[in-house]
Structure formats: C-alpha cells, structure tokens
Amino acid sequence: MKKYPHRRQPIDWIRLVLLNIFFLLLCFLIVVPILYAVNISFSGSADSLSTATFFPSRFTWENYRKILFDYPFFTWLGNTALLAIGTTLFTLVPAVFGAYAFASKRFHGRKFLLYVLLILNAFPAVLTMYALFRLFKDWHLLNSFWGLIVIYSGSLTIFSIWNMKGYFESIPAPIEEAAKIDGANEAQVLFKIVLPLARPAIIVTSILVLISVWNEYIFATTFLTGEGSYTLAAGLYTLQHNDYTRLWPLFAAGSILISLPILIIFYAMQRYMVSGLTAGGVKE
C-alpha cells in the first residue's frame, strides 16, 4: 500500500492552532495564582492592596529579607529538616526489610498482610489523631520531635513498603538463587546482591518520604506547639492566620521559599516518580 504523503490538511492546521490556544489558556489559568503570589512577594506592602496583579510597580527584595532574617525562618527550616531526615531514616530501615520480604519470600499470610497494609494506607491518619494525641500526652511525648518522627514513620513505612515492593520484584529471582548456590547466606544475598541493585528505588522512596514530611502540617501544628519547635508549615500557617492583610507579601515570599526546593527535586526526579508510580501500581 502506498504511504500517504506527509502533507497536513488545512483542517489539521486549524485543529492544531485551536489545540495550542486551548493549552496556552489552560497553562495560564493553572499558573495564575502562583504568578500572583510571585508578584506580591516582590512588591512593597502597599502594592498588595492596590490593583497591581502580575507586575510589581516597584520591585523589591524586602519581603524575602524580612521573612529570612526578621522571622525565625531558619529555626523553622532546621526543625523541618530534622523531622524530615529523622523520619526518613526511621522509615526506610524497616520498610526496606519489609519490602524485601514481601517481594522475594513466599510465606503463609503474605497476601492477607498486603491487603491489610493497603487498607491501613487508605485510612485517614487524621481520624486517629485524637487517640494519638491523648496517648502522647500521657506518655509525655507531646512537643517532642521523636514522638512526631515515630508517628510519621508508622504510616510512611506502609507507603514505602508498597512503593519499593514493585522494584524489588523486578530484580530477577535467578540472580538471588545463583548467589545462594555459590554459598552466600541470607544476609549476604540481601546486602551484597539485592540492596545494591535496588538502590535507585531506595533513593527515590527516601526522597518521597522526605517530601511528605516537608509537606505535612496538621500533625506538625497539633503535636509541636512550642514556638521554638515550629516547622515551616507552622510558621507559614501563623503568617496567613494572623493579620494577613499586612503580612500577605511576607506570606507569599515564605511560600515561594518553602516550595522552591520541593519544585526542584520534583522536576529533577519526575521521570522516576512516574515510573515508580506505574511500577508500584500495575504490573504486567
């Protein structure tokens, strides 16, 4: 059969132009709230109430200077980093062992456990917050970073096990069997063969855990109430909570500072996130 010549019909041109207009409009609508915030963050405080919408009438770094140095921004940042890193370590160790067991061992009750973990993952953590709050109050773990790290780790361990199980399963079983035939014991197979092969999955999952803690606010604002233990979320919350007419430019600057690292990480590992999602959820 003869191939069609690669010449576009007029109707195709019109369709492409319309499609491009549609996507340009859509993209604009999507970023409008962000553009507005960016603009406000570079404007003097008087501008925020005026009609200026997308271009500051007078460009200034003042809001960034204020939020960074007049507010305990670096304390908030330090607290958030401590929580995020602590939780990642506390989560990944049990999750790696768990994911390995689910992926390469067959044992009685395996499927049942996987279902249970899936249900627990669907269960909103907010609903048991009061129970945890009360228990932690009795155990004197309120306002303790360790307490919050343990809470975060509980639900994130479930997520991490599920997220890594898919990758671990993609490691061909013959590799492990060959190592065993060569006389490697259980621990050697895990530490010398499986973990090095699964390193990308472990790194991606660590970053996802790190991001979830960075983005969490309701537990952080409920369990850490002392001003010295505010996280970025709690800090930003107070900025919009109090007299936010005056603080709106500061709040905008803070929002952008908090979001930037996450944006960068997100786009740097977008490819892995998407493949991780599909690999974890669907298997051929």
């Binding site: 996507f23 999507i30 507005y36 999750a95 499927k111 996987l114 269960f123 909103p124 599909t278 669907v282």
Partner: protein, 303 residues
C-alpha cells in the same frame, strides 16, 4: 514425606524476621490508635470527662445517626457527592487533556506537560493557603478583583455552603489533576497505534475512536490508581479545613466532610467520644468498600 529439618523451620521463620521491625512500628502507631479510637467511641470522654470517663455503650453511635443532634449524616452525604463529582470530573477532564497532549503534531506538548505539573510539585498546604489568601480572599483575592472589575460588589465564595463546596472542588481539581493526567498520559503510550488506522479506515469519528479503542485500553492500566485516588478524595481534609474551618478563620460556610467533622468534633468541640464514633464508622466504611473493590482492582498488585 520428610519431617521439617531445623534449617527448614528456620527458613519459614526468616520472612517474619524481616517484617518484624516494620510490623511492630505499624502496629504501634497505626493499628493500636485505631483500636484505642474504637474504645474511646464507647465512652463519654470529653473536656469535662478527661480522666473520669466511663463506658456508655452505643450512645455516641446513636447520636451520630440521629439527625437533630449531629451533622454526621449530612456530612457523609456531602462527602459521597464530593468524591463522586471529583472522580468523574478528574478522570474525564484528565482523559481529554491527556488525549490533547498526545495529538500528533503538537510540538509544545512537553512544555505544556511541564507547566501542568506545577500544582503537583507544590507542597499541598502552601497551595491551599496561597489560594485562600491570593484567590478567595474577599478583599484582594483574584476573584474579588475580578468581581470588582466587572462592577460586582465584594464577594467571598467561602462564606456560603455551596460556594465553599465549589471553591474547594476547583482547588482540588487544580491540585489533583496533574497526577491523573500523568497516569493517563503514561497509559496512552501503550495503546496499539495500528488500531487507530483501522478505525480511520472504518470511518470512525473522534468520540467513537476514543470511546471504543482508547478508553478500553487505558482503563485496565489506570484502574488501581483511580481506586486509590477515590480513597484520597474521600479522605480529603486539608482543603476544606484550611479554606473554611481554620480556628479563628472559620468562614461560617458550615461545610463539613466526615473527616473534618471527626476532627472538629474532637479538637474544636472537645467531644472525644462522639468524634471517635464518627472515626470508627468511617473506618468500617473504608474496610467494606475495600472488600468490595480490592478483589478485582488490586489482585495484580498484591500477587
């Protein structure tokens, strides 16, 4: 048959050794609090009965279901509506957008995709607070400015029930659709292109083609994510809470999903028994939904 040797017995034990740290952690901070919540739901624990509480049987459950006294039934219905409307809009709009992104000849598709992902990349609470102040605020929010430009008076959509519902809906679509678009876009790559050629020869139009070729090949791939997303929508808390229910920033819209209801009943009204009853009911609903869904949807993932 031979009896198990000690080595074989040990091998049976090995997976559990690996699972032990994770399971202990999950049992301690996820499962135990659920059980404790169930226990509290049978007591009259509240601000006035912080330590001297007692068992009251099913009284909290009766209260949850009696309309006059609690908002549970209303909030449950609105949560169902919220979940259904969200899923229908999310999946159908994302499907159309993903189709558009995959249209032959669309050179800027990658640029568009990158921009459309931005809401996904932002921290959720930052997005919500930004929208609260920058879009919905009655004085200098973008909507208020737009309304003023058209000569309408000051408007704050967050103060009425349905205004708050649709505001939350729009924001939720903004935040959640990038994920759905990505999933469908990924699934579209696996559609057999040759099917389109034959559909064209058969004279099938846009809707016919995508309804009988594209959708049936995409659906099995995205079904597990759609199921998980449905639960995420059902348990949406942050948007409703931060937009309309913040302490001191309550807009008076009265919009409560079951999750925000459980939260405010505990942390605002300090009625811990009732709150725990609501939580327990939701937990049971999730388990039942899961039992209905999981067999087919998650079979592959669990195997």
């Amino acid at each position: 048959m031979k009896k198990n040797t000690p080595a074989q017995k040990f091998n049976k034990f090995v997976p559990w050794l690996y699972l032990l740290p994770g399971l202990v952690l999950v049992a301690l901070v996820v499962v135990f609090p659920i059980g404790y919540t169930g226990y509290i739901s049978f007591t009259n624990m509240s601000l006035y009965h912080w330590t001297d509480y007692g068992l009251v049987g099913f009284r909290n459950y009766v209260r949850a279901f009696s309309r006059a006294d609690s908002e549970f039934v209303k909030s449950f219905l609105i949560t169902l509506l919220w979940t259904v409307v969200n899923m229908i809009l999310q999946v159908s709009l994302s499907f159309l957008i993903a189709l558009g992104l995959n249209a032959p000849g669309l050179r800027l598709a990658k640029v568009y995709k990158t921009i459309l992902m931005i809401p996904w990349a932002l921290p959720g609470y930052v997005s919500i607070l930004l929208w609260r102040v920058g879009v919905f605020n009655g004085e200098f929010g973008l909507l208020a400015k737009l309304a003023m430009a058209f000569g309408l008076g000051k408007t704050n959509f967050l103060t009425t029930y349905w205004g708050a519902f649709f505001s939350c809906l729009i924001l939720n679509l903004w935040m959640a659709m990038p994920f759905m678009i990505t999933m469908i876009d990924g699934a579209l790559q696996s559609v057999d292109r040759s099917l389109y050629e034959s559909a064209k020869l058969d004279g099938a139009g846009f809707f016919r083609t995508h309804f009988s070729i594209t959708w049936p090949s995409v659906w099995p791939i995205i079904a597990p994510s759609v199921a998980m997303t449905t639960f995420v929508q059902f348990k949406q808390f942050d948007i409703v809470y931060l937009l309309t229910l913040q302490p001191g920033g309550n807009t008076g819209a009265g919009l409560q999903t079951v999750i925000t209801l459980a939260y405010t009943t505990a942390f605002t009204s300090c009625n811990y028994g009732l709150s725990s009853a609501v939580s327990t009911i939701i937990f049971l609903i999730i388990v039942i939904l899961f039992a209905l869904l999981s067999r087919r949807t998650f079979k592959e993932a669990v195997s």
